[in-house]
Symmetry: C2
Subunit: 131 residues, 2 copies
């Protein structure tokens, strides 16, 4: 498999659970009144909660169990809102077989418009095969 894609929606329950677990109680993610005072107007999803979805795919689907992150360069281009339909895609870019490094593009797009919300590139390896 060299490309993975899924439809994804982030729920308010997930955002609240991530806030409680991480302690990131930034009101931008939790308070409708606070968010209304910002350019975003309504609460937005934590960037690192979006990143957790990429981690889930790496660790369970592609390349799969045993994957360990070496780097992830994330760009949060546009606000991600609760309840909106998005598409998460991970595409294999290249391998460095000598060091067992695999590079992937990570992407979250608006399912309706195709606009890029979160872009990035990750380097991972499989812990079961290292050295």
């Amino acid at each position: 498999m060299t490309a993975y894609t899924e439809a994804i929606t982030f729920t308010q329950a997930q955002v609240e659970a991530f806030a409680a677990l991480s302690g990131d109680n930034n009101p931008l993610h939790l308070s409708e009144a606070y968010a209304a005072s910002t350019i975003f107007k309504t609460p937005i999803v934590h960037g690192m909660w979006v990143a957790a979805a990429f981690s889930r795919v790496f660790g369970t689907q592609m390349p799969g169990p045993g994957t360990v992150y070496l780097s992830h360069n994330l760009q949060f281009l546009r606000p991600v809102y609760v309840g909106k339909p998005y598409r998460l895609s991970i595409t294999f870019l290249r391998a460095e077989p000598r060091r067992n490094h695999l590079f992937f593009e990570t992407l979250l797009t608006d399912a309706a418009t195709g606009k890029k919300m979160v872009t990035g590139e990750a380097c991972v390896q499989n812990a079961a095969f290292v050295y």
Copy 2:
């Protein structure tokens, strides 16, 4: 405040809760038997769970509530283990006032040896002050 630092330890309960919430059930983080078959020997913390700690500091401490991520470039240099004492540090690097961009170095070190575990640079802005 231009630098923030805290002692931090990642617990197995947090790792299990993050796995359950995100769906990242990679056995490298959850199974002692699986981890024993890898170079890590015992389960390691999800990279994105470490990243969530940086997000917590940005969203609650420095620069504080209303912070929104624009980018975060994370390097996972060494495995982070449950129960080990680490030090999390975030240091202000520079501002681009025209666009209200703030750049920070993010760092997780081994509290005992000072070795760098996770390095990175983040760009954030405050949603309450954007444009």
